[in-house]
């Protein structure tokens, strides 16, 4: 057993025992393995073991051209694929100092927000499922399906789109795109009330989430927990506000933030963020300017030698890309600072001395996507 768990023996105290949550466990949403040290039902230590789905995306990026890198970023955080693509596109456009058409910026912003809603919907339903409310799972997936239909009509695929290219888009949006998006917003404004009725207000849910896994602002900053999880702790860290890209500087939206910092806060922050995203889409969807769907780009993109850093607000937090180029068509180093990987670090800190059921709730509230951790 010792070799498998891979721990120093002295870490086990009397009356403590380990259980392995994962790599096959219903609540880790993938192949994450948590070695949990328990005393009774109380969690004493959580040691994440990652790497079960490590594909070496960063190594693969070193042999790919910048257009080809985009399809790899889809597969990191598959729930916010567009936003990952956006980061690469912004990095290349910024390095080449290409001005993309206004229409592209609008479309990208709308699609990013749709993607964010879809991601949060999937998070909501799996969060409900982790707490035992199985019906939530189907309601969330039902509504997410509508967004995926919008995506499928315009870009031809439902999950991994590779729709953005450096300089613009793969093809123009479908003529039905605006109508469908508006229909969806109308539909989802109704359905999100159900979300509140079935889970947010529920007394069992409140008991399960309030005061569980409290993360203070200092802890959030020190551990680098960004995104809705960090903002629920009171840390104003929204890249969309701090370093606006796309047309986020032209739209009016609130940066969701809360001060409670517990599981309930993270839950409410994400629900509010869905509402804010709908607000952004509503402001933009009727005002997409006419124009080209792509700037003129050379077929072979070579970044000038140097180093570049680009950050975007993914559905889970700050996605950063650090790129070193030597002037060739492939990068020397292409590093992804993925939000799930950093957010995972805080799991041990905030779930100590909680019950094992709380560990599941905390893990779900951090919204970890395993391929995003492992890359």
């Amino acid at each position: 057993m010792k070799e498998i768990i891979n721990l120093p023996v002295q870490s086990i105290e009397e009356e403590e025992y380990h259980i392995n949550m994962g790599p096959q466990h219903p609540s880790t949403h993938g192949v994450l393995r948590l070695v949990v040290t328990l005393q009774g039902e109380t969690v004493k230590k959580v040691q994440p073991h990652c790497g079960y789905i490590h594909r070496g995306i960063e190594k693969m990026c070193e042999k790919d051209t910048y257009q080809q890198i985009i399809h790899l970023t889809d597969r990191m955080d598959y729930l916010s694929a567009h936003i990952n693509n956006h980061a690469v596109c912004l990095l290349v456009e910024g390095a080449l100092e290409v001005e993309v058409p206004e229409r592209v910026k609008y479309i990208r912003t709308i699609i990013d927000e749709l993607n964010r809603i879809a991601s949060h919907q999937l998070w909501w339903c799996s969060f409900g499922m982790d707490l035992g409310g199985l019906t939530c799972f189907f309601y969330g997936l039902r509504d997410r399906e509508r967004i995926l239909d919008i995506f499928e009509e315009s870009f031809g695929s439902r999950l991994l789109h590779s729709y953005y290219t450096p300089g613009g888009l793969m093809q123009d949006i479908h003529p039905n795109f605006q109508k469908r998006t508006k229909d969806f917003i109308k539909y989802f404004r109704k359905k999100i009330k159900d979300y509140d009725r079935i889970l947010s207000g529920n007394v069992i849910f409140e008991n399960r989430s309030k005061g569980i896994g409290v993360m203070s602002k200092e802890v959030a900053i020190n551990y680098g927990v960004t995104g809705p999880s960090g903002r629920a702790s009171g840390w104003v860290c929204d890249i969309r506000k701090k370093f606006p890209y796309g047309v986020y500087d032209k739209v009016d939206f609130k940066e969701v933030f809360r001060t409670d910092g517990d599981t309930y806060g993270r839950y409410m922050a994400r629900l509010d963020e869905m509402r804010e995203s709908m607000k952004i889409i509503e402001q933009l969807i009727d005002n997409i300017p006419e124009g080209d769907y792509s700037a003129k780009m050379k077929p072979i993109i070579k970044l000038p030698a140097g180093e570049y850093y680009q950050r975007v607000e993914s559905a889970r937090g700050e996605l950063g890309i650090y790129c070193i180029s030597d002037g060739n068509k492939t990068p020397v180093r292409f590093k992804f600072r993925t939000p799930s990987f950093v957010n995972l670090g805080v799991l041990d800190k905030i779930s100590r001395d909680m019950k094992i059921a709380d560990l599941v709730a905390i893990g779900a509230s951090l919204d970890l996507v395993i391929p995003d951790i492992d890359r």
Binding site: G51, W235, G306, Y308, Y309, R337, L344, G345
Partner: protein, 152 residues
């Protein structure tokens, strides 16, 4: 803090640091011996107040390996990029910053795993993605693996 003042301030702390050209952040190449003391100052001094390590990257430049740190201050909103390099490819070793920024704990384990750079003082220096008995450091430029890496 303004970028120029920030550069001055850091050069004041570590005069040996070399300023590198970068449009986005003030970038310094810091001698590895001085790095830890600079990091402590960055974290502790009220004027600097770099409380958020947002990226830590291991890099293989070909002849030398090293680490790139990106710091920012969540309150003062200024950022800095620091680099440490070494030519010792066999057994590179730097001081850890995991005691100052907890976020570095996982980052440093990743760098150790993929680049083979050790961090002295790290609380839990194990491989993070690969197995303990993995031979080599896959992100190095000279790493070869005929079985698992398919050249197209």
């Amino acid at each position: 803090m303004e970028a120029e003042k920030l550069i001055e301030k850091i050069l004041e702390i570590v005069p040996e640091a070399q300023l590198e050209e970068n449009k986005q952040f003030p970038t310094f190449l810091v001698p590895s011996g001085k790095f830890k003391s600079l990091a402590v100052k960055l974290k502790e001094e009220k004027e600097l107040d770099f409380d958020y390590l947002f990226c830590l990257t291991g890099v293989d430049w070909g002849t030398e390996v090293g680490v790139v740190y990106h710091f920012t201050s969540s309150f003062l909103n200024h950022s800095v990029e620091l680099k440490v390099k070494t030519e010792n490819r066999e057994n590179p070793e730097f001081d850890t910053v995991a005691d100052l920024w907890k976020a570095a704990e996982f980052f440093e384990r990743e760098v150790w795993d993929l680049f083979g750079i050790r961090f002295t003082g790290h609380p839990d220096m194990r491989r993070i993605f690969l197995e303990e008995n993995w031979v080599g450091y896959p992100m190095r430029k000279d790493y070869t693996d005929e079985v698992n890496i398919v050249e197209l």
